[in-house]
């Protein structure tokens, strides 16, 4: 049984590490939803573009990973602003279905654009980070780095939201949109800042994911649906709920993958999601209104 337990521990650890990255992805989506009340259906496609940016910066332009990462984060932040200004802002105040359809359209637009621009080849940075062994448990440095960076990113966001006037306004807007003008807050400006932050979080995620996964135009499909499920289960717009849900999903995937195949891990996660929708349709930490 000892042999078996080591694998379980390894799966638990890997689940935890995966959870950090999923939590980061969910956080960006939740931030946008909580503040602007719009779901960026194309969120994972922003991540895909960030991964391509990393590929081009590192492989094609020969920059170091540490120079490329901040550039990719900034670039996807700008993409977030463009998405807001060009697509979301003109549709604010119209039926929510319009915004869903529009960002859904952007998803296919970005996938097609990537196919045309980058081709359908799988690409990677060719960086193979070593594996760390602690008491017979193997953990990859890439996952550890991703976990650490994801937690750091989330901490930075938390400090921004709690310690600055703009961050406080971002939290306030999610609670009462209409009276923000009475506080002297220009909501349109806060939306643009929030979109930049949401985009930058996607950019950070892409820097971390590109260390573990190949990039191709449809790679968004690997993260997009699971990110949405996490957000819905945590309660859309609820950042803490999303954080917890990310780790629950990651552990289900990781442990499910241990006993069967990795694909089965995802199957379990989706079954769990559907079951939870019957039990707690408002999300894990639903507020009783």
């Amino acid at each position: 049984m000892g042999f078996f337990d080591i694998f379980l521990v390894e799966a638990l650890v890997n689940g935890l590490l995966l959870g950090g990255v999923l939590a980061l992805l969910a956080l960006g989506l939740n931030l946008i939803f909580g503040v602007i009340d719009v779901a960026w259906i194309c969120y994972a496609e922003l991540v895909m573009f960030g991964m391509y940016a990393m590929y081009y910066f590192v492989i094609v332009f020969g920059l170091s990973y540490w120079v490329a990462a901040p550039m990719a984060i900034a670039l996807i932040g700008v993409m977030g602003v463009l998405l807001h200004v060009l697509v979301i802002a003109p549709l604010l105040g119209t039926a929510p279905i319009n915004q869903l359809l529009a960002t859904g359209g952007v998803l296919f637009f970005l996938q097609s654009l990537a196919t045309v621009a980058f081709g359908i080849d799988f690409r990677n940075l060719g960086i193979r980070l070593p594996t760390l062994e602690v008491a017979e448990v193997f953990v990859s440095y890439a996952r550890l780095l991703a976990f650490g960076a994801a937690l750091t990113g989330m901490l930075a966001l938390w400090l921004f939201l709690t310690r600055t006037y703009t961050g406080t306004a971002i939290r306030a807007i999610a609670q009462d949109r209409e009276i923000m003008a009475l506080m002297g807050v220009d909501t349109r400006r806060v939306y643009v800042i929030t979109s930049a932050v949401g985009g930058a979080l996607a950019g950070l995620a892409s820097c971390l994911l590109v260390l573990q996964y190949d990039v191709h135009p449809f790679v968004g499909l690997s993260f997009g649906p699971i990110t949405f499920m996490i957000c819905v289960m945590g309660g859309l717009g609820n950042m803490i709920g999303g954080f917890i849900a990310a780790f629950i999903f990651a552990e289900i995937i990781s442990i499910g993958g241990l006993y069967l195949d990795l694909e089965w891990g995802y199957v379990f996660a989706f079954v769990f999601f559907i079951a939870m929708m019957f039990v707690r349709p408002e999300g894990l930490l639903a507020r009783r209104s």
């Binding site: 006037y165 609670q175 009276i179 923000m180 009475l182 506080m183 002297g184 807050v185 220009d186």
Partner: protein, 234 residues
């Protein structure tokens, strides 16, 4: 200081104010009384820019506020305590107060204003880390007034500060209004509690069905038969 000239406004096809005119002078406390649905809240909203006049002018020291974006109006010294308080319920008292000091001119004075507000409402200091939505109605009203005072305004617009509060708390709220105006702040207050509000204001206007029906000093209105019969129940 503040003047409304023949203001018309409304929501879509519904017109809420018909040629409303009123004036508030520096250092005055002015009340607007009238029944539910008379347009009192709309009157406040048209001053702070949450709704725009369709005709007439809202003048603040000669500037037409219709040309000023809503989020810049507070920077001119006009703070609005909205109807139903409208705190950010899942933020702490201190974060709510911080939002009141959001505008760039107020930020350097944050610590000083916070001390002023905590001096006025010691209860808020005790509860500064409590979520605003978990406090009692009276405490929430204090927090809402404190939030408006954080911007160091020159005029305070108060929309029904006594609404939904227990009678003993209503007394306290009006006592606060008295203290705030004694501190030299100009106040425009909208109230259904006619008896109480006429005790704290210098002058008042009667608003009915979107039209100013009557105006005068608090003493004149208290003595008027119309007001006595319809609003004071004597």
């Amino acid at each position: 200081m503040l003047e409304l000239r023949n203001v018309d406004t409304g929501y879509g096809t519904f017109q809420a104010l018909f040629g409303a005119s009123l004036e508030v002078r520096l250092g005055e406390a002015v009340g607007v009384i009238g029944p539910n649905g008379a347009g009192k809240t709309t009157l406040m909203r048209v001053i702070s820019g949450l709704i725009r006049p369709t005709a007439g002018q809202v003048l603040w020291e000669g500037t037409d506020l219709a040309t000023v974006p809503a989020h810049r109006i507070v920077e001119l010294g006009i703070a609005h305590v909205p109807e139903h308080r409208r705190l950010f319920p899942r933020m702490t008292v201190e974060d709510n107060l911080r939002m009141g000091a959001f505008m760039p001119a107020a930020r350097p004075k944050f610590a000083q204003r916070l001390e002023f507000v905590y001096g006025l409402f010691p209860r808020m200091k005790e509860r500064r880390n409590q979520l605003a939505g978990t406090m009692s109605g009276g405490e929430q009203q204090m927090c809402a007034i404190g939030r408006a005072l954080m911007s160091d305004p020159r005029i305070l617009l108060m929309d029904e500060p006594s609404a939904g509060l227990a009678p003993v708390i209503v007394q306290q709220v009006f006592e606060l209004v008295r203290r705030i105006r004694e501190s030299g702040l100009t106040v425009l207050i909208v109230e259904q509690n006619v008896q109480q509000v006429l005790k704290v204001v210098d002058r008042a206007y009667l608003l009915e069905a979107g039209t100013i029906r009557m105006s005068g000093t608090a003493a004149e209105l208290s003595a008027s038969d119309t007001i006595r019969e319809a609003y004071l129940g004597v």
